[in-house]
């Protein structure tokens, strides 16, 4: 069952593995795990997906990226986000290499283009079950 914000939308529920990412994100910082052999990877996990070793370290990413692919979700396929549709869902290639998925904000849906440079933002949502405000990764057009 997904965790919900007070406004009804689904929000992340951090785990022991991902808590550092979300804690930094709440302060507006984008942390990426970096393996000494294989470089940065995303989403956060306990071991590097290329070598399965655990000697990675957290490093702050620039938050800069480019839209690789996107769609305009006209109906809100997530049942908790139906009223928010239409919105743009995009795969964003981060400057450091890994790919992330997020909504594109502060931009008309029809103006979004593949290859567009974007910058990560973390918007905070109050969980319905109490607890700390929880960040959701989004991207806006880079200035």
């Amino acid at each position: 069952m997904v965790r919900l914000a007070r406004d009804g939308r689904s929000i992340p529920e951090p785990t022991p593995v991902t808590a550092p990412f979300f804690k930094a994100a709440a302060d507006g910082r984008f942390l990426l795990q970096t393996c000494p052999r294989d470089g940065a990877f995303f989403y956060p996990r306990a071991r590097c997906p290329k070598c399965w070793r655990a000697d990675w370290s957290w490093a702050e990413a620039s938050g800069q990226g480019k839209i690789h692919a996107f769609t305009i979700d006209r109906i809100g396929h997530d049942p908790t986000q139906k009223e928010l549709a239409p919105f743009v869902i995009a795969l964003v290639d981060l400057e450091e290499g890994p790919r992330a998925v997020a909504q594109i904000v502060e931009c008309e849906a029809e103006a979004v283009r593949a290859g567009m440079p974007v910058k990560a933002v973390f918007d905070l949502f109050q969980p319905a079950d109490g607890g700390d405000p929880t960040p959701i990764l989004r991207f806006r057009p880079a200035a």
């Binding site: 069952m1 997904v2 965790r3 939308r9 689904s10 929000i11 992340p12 529920e13 951090p14 785990t15 593995v17 991902t18 989403y43 996990r45 690789h68 692919a69 996107f70 769609t71 305009i72 979700d73 006209r74 109906i75 809100g76 396929h77 997530d78 049942p79 986000q81 928010l84 919105f87 869902i89 795969l91 790919r99 992330a100 998925v101 997020a102 909504q103 593949a114 959701i136 990764l137």
Partner: protein, 398 residues
């Protein structure tokens, strides 16, 4: 050519429906499908010594032993398969491989997709998980933390991103994708069991249907419904005693790299490539030799991309291939001749079985009005999730 160890000796497919009033538990559905497979094949119930299922909702754990017990089987091959839309095709090759190594001789491959009897009652039970999340709402799953909040839920937005990227990369136009839906609908008009039987569509109607996730429109997306389907996979020896022409399982391949589109190594290079290449090599044949292609079609773009990666044309040439060929059952390159899921309906997990069964029917000469003039070799592709689980089969008339 290829493997000659196992064949599909019988089929059963329920007419899909938007509503399903008959209350039936999965375990009872297996018994009904089993009986229908015995009737269709003409083989003996005592020959059956294995089965493949997704699971049984009445037996969330220990499902295989519950099936053996409920069906009164002393069974040697008791398999549970979890490959999304590729599940039925994945079951078929697992059964064939088990038969080839001598574990068993006749395997019930069963995919009922019916509502739970309890959900038909007035007091619906609270479900903790919504099917649209496909398990991605479990605590600790990457999907719950990084995909669901982004809205990447269900399959449509993911396939829409592939379609849009494809259009931008190769210049594909929307009418070409629509042509796939129109030709499959034509095939459905020759299939009285199809959910869209008697309802023709045009390219203009597809283009004018509501945009769901750009560039995919309503008429390019499967209609969910209820139903069920099963096949009986047997040794070649047993299949030769069956009532109909055996469909030999002469090649197969399976491959996967990702669960979510975000982690797909290349949006325009799917695991179909490896799965199909190994299936063709195993069967000792080529795409050009196929009389029929039954391609998992959750969306129009899935058909185009699968045909490319399976080697029917090169990547980027799929649009030209669709325009230059006629996918109708009486056309030069018959695809999804029973209407596919887009025309027949997508009955849950049995949706991926419709392609297997239609290939068998064409090979057996049992396709009725939509029977191809010649069908001795058929390519079947099962696709799950976000172009993720891929299973290719080569079926060959004995």
């Amino acid at each position: 050519m290829g493997k000659r160890a196992a064949a599909i000796a019988g089929v059963s497919e329920w007419k899909p429906a938007r509503r399903w009033d008959e209350a039936m538990f999965d375990l009872d559905a297996f018994a009904r499908l089993g009986a229908e497979l015995i009737d269709d094949s003409g083989l003996d119930r005592a020959d059956v010594d294995g089965f493949c299922v997704v699971g049984a909702r009445e037996a969330p754990a220990l499902a295989p032993s519950a099936v053996a017990e409920h069906l009164g089987l002393r069974s040697r091959f008791n398999e549970r398969v979890d490959l999304g839309g590729a599940t039925p095709a994945g079951m078929v090759w697992r059964a064939a491989a088990a038969i080839e190594v001598g574990i068993c001789q006749a395997v019930l491959v069963m995919c009922p997709a019916i509502p739970r009897p309890s959900q038909q009652a007035r007091d619906r039970p609270q479900t903790s998980s919504r099917p649209v999340y496909m398990g991605g709402d479990a605590w600790g799953s990457p999907q719950a933390q990084f995909e669901v909040p982004a809205g990447l839920v269900g399959a449509t937005p993911s396939y829409a991103m592939i379609a849009r990227l494809y259009m931008e990369t190769f210049g594909l136009d929307e009418a070409t994708l629509a042509k796939i839906a129109v030709e499959q609908r034509y095939n459905a008009l020759a299939n009285p069991d199809a959910i869209f039987y008697g309802r023709p569509i045009t390219v203009d109607e597809v283009l004018a249907s509501p945009m769901i996730a750009d560039p995919l429109k309503l008429l390019e997306i499967v209609m969910p419904c209820f139903g069920g389907a099963a096949v009986l996979v047997t040794s070649a020896d047993l299949a030769r005693r069956a009532r109909h022409r055996p469909a030999m399982i002469s090649g197969f391949g399976e491959e996967m790299t990702h669960r979510s589109l975000t982690s797909m190594p290349d949006l325009l290079d799917s695991p179909v490539r490896g799965a199909a290449a190994r299936a063709f090599a195993m069967a000792g044949t080529t795409p050009a030799a196929m009389d029929s292609a039954q391609i998992y079609d959750c969306y129009t773009i899935t058909v185009l991309r699968s045909l490319e990666d399976a080697g029917f044309c090169r990547v980027g040439e799929g649009g030209a291939f669709v325009r230059e060929h006629d996918f109708r059952y009486d056309g030069d390159f018959p695809v999804n001749t029973n209407g596919g899921q887009l025309g027949f309906g997508q009955a849950g997990i049995s949706g991926g079985m419709t392609h297997v069964i239609e290939a068998v029917r064409q090979i057996q000469g049992r396709a009725g009005q939509r029977q191809q003039r010649k069908c001795d070799l058929a390519f079947v592709n099962g696709n799950g999730g976000m172009m993720s689980e891929q299973v290719s089969l080569i079926l060959e008339g004995a």
